[in-house]
Amino acid sequence: MTVADLARAHAQTMPYAYLDERSKREVRRAMLKALALPGRQVPFASREMPVARGWGSGGLQVTLSMVGPGDVVKVIDQGDDGSLNASSMRDLIAQTAAVETTTRTREASIIQSRHRIPEIPLRADQLLVLQMPHPEPLRRVVPDPARAAAMHAEGDATPAWVELYDDTVRHGGSTGGADHPILVDGVSLASPSPVPRFDVLTLDRRPHPVILGAGRLARITALPPWTSVQPLAFADRPLRTESAGGPCERCDSAESYRVEGNPGSGRWRCSDVDACTDRRTT
């Protein structure tokens, strides 16, 4: 028996796109506020979702609040449309909103992603939704959320610079891995969600909006179109992107973000499956 069967048995109907209209309006209001305050963390009433908190419940609420019958939805996890997590969420969206889904970046109107930003350039009419487990960029250096909030309000990003300085002194550069902080419009310190540094450098002045949803911590952050987004980096030490051990064994690209199939195997492949496919077929 499904939830829909249970609802029918009790004379209830499932709302369109899973969330009831009040919940969707609440999420959309938070998104509008976030768009008006680029890079700021805007609280919202995060709902219980049929995925564990921290597994994309924030991104899912954003997508379900925005999706309409005419949309085409793409969901990726680590650049891959076929992962279990991406497939489950894509199925949920498709079943509850009756929308078309796709694995092709160019065909999608809404792209929900975890850990990657599609490498194929997006258009102004597309929406990028990023799942964001940790919206607070100062969490590692300022454990007290109230103090961190005060520092954001005062535009004081010193703790993040201290963390970067320490990484540079001890390791020669940022070791933040897939969570390098960004400066939005030169003033707001934000977390870009756990995307690789390769992707962080592509966030500047994109023609489409980016909405970042953190369901567990009930925060939404937004980057309106054409927003200035710079990685936190010293003027004389630009941010270095990750390096791969070789070109993609499928498309032969040496420019894309590549991951090793099995650690130590020396076989590198593009992380963005659709971009890799696109290169092979064109």
Binding site: W161, Y165, R170
Partner: protein, 290 residues
């Protein structure tokens, strides 16, 4: 008959303006009542109010520190000297009074970022425990020092590293250890790092809270020598709180003695140590180890 020697009146020099002027500094721990101030203090022999139990840590302290002057504060445990220093360091709220720092203004009126800015730029405190002063054990020694420069807004790595590393070098921290986490340093080395951090922005007012307590005598001597040299170099006004009369003898130009929250004696350090007047000061001086 000899003529009387003419009396030459020496020109009276106006005293230099105080770097720090504190008036009526009050700090209570408890609800407070009308009799708190009259029933506590040196004369009453206690700083606990018998009516309401409030601890009157500081009933209304007045003091001044001149530019380049080192003021020592001594007294037994619980006399209020550390409360006084932490109030001046803006580490805790006060219940009354003013503290004017030259070029900054009224310290106790500062809030938010302005308060934090003053605490990294104009005044700085060196604690007995470096981690009480905000140093972090997991960060490299150089990072702990450079944090003060990053707070100033410097955003070029190489000049920052040169300045922070240079200060650590002057404090005797070998260059090969600048990138090591502070948690791996000995107590004496941590104090050197703390001192480097405290002095990197040439503060107007340096506050030292038992800076050598807990260190072995040879390390104490080295750290005290560093402090004395640094004070000469920066010409900062300095307030040093200590139990150790040897520390004030070495560092302080002037010394005040506190008892039950009040200043019971004040004078040049030699005067206090060689010719104490107040019975409590006499007791402190007499209890010195040979």
């Amino acid at each position: 008959m000899s003529l009387p020697t003419p009396v030459v009146q020496a020109p009276r020099l106006a005293p230099p303006p105080a770097l720090l002027r504190v008036e009526g500094l009050r700090r209570l721990f408890g609800p407070g009542c009308a009799s708190c101030l009259t029933s506590t203090g040196d004369a009453a022999g206690t700083n606990r109010c018998p009516a309401c139990g409030t601890i009157v840590a500081l009933p209304g302290i007045d003091l001044e520190v001149g530019p380049g002057e080192v003021l020592g504060i001594v007294g037994e445990s619980g006399s209020g000297k550390s409360t006084l220093l932490r109030s001046l360091a803006l580490e805790q709220p006060v219940d009354g009074g003013r503290a004017e720092l030259e070029g900054v203004g009224e310290l106790f009126a500062l809030e938010g970022r302005a308060r934090r800015d003053v605490r990294t730029r104009a005044l700085t405190i060196v604690h007995q425990d470096p981690f009480s002063a905000g140093l972090r054990s997991q960060l490299a020694a150089e990072t702990n020092v450079a944090e003060r420069l990053l707070a100033r807004g410097d955003r070029r790595f190489e000049p920052l590293s040169m300045e922070a590393g240079g200060m650590l070098g002057r404090m005797g921290v070998h260059a090969g250890r600048h990138a090591d986490p502070l948690g791996t340093f000995s107590g004496g080395m941590r104090q050197r790092v703390q001192l480097a951090r405290a002095l990197i922005r040439r503060p107007q007012l340096l506050l030292l809270d038992e800076p050598t307590t807990g260190l072995d005598p040879s390390v104490q001597a080295t750290v005290l020598s560093l402090i004395a040299r640094s004070i000469d170099r920066t010409l900062a006004g300095t307030v040093v709180v200590t139990h150790d009369l040897g520390v004030v003898r070495l560092l302080a130009d002037r010394t005040i003695v506190m008892h039950h929250g009040e200043i019971v004696e004040e004078g040049t350090t030699d005067q206090i140590l060689e010719d104490p007047v107040h019975p409590h000061t006499q007791s402190l001086v007499a209890s010195r180890l040979p």
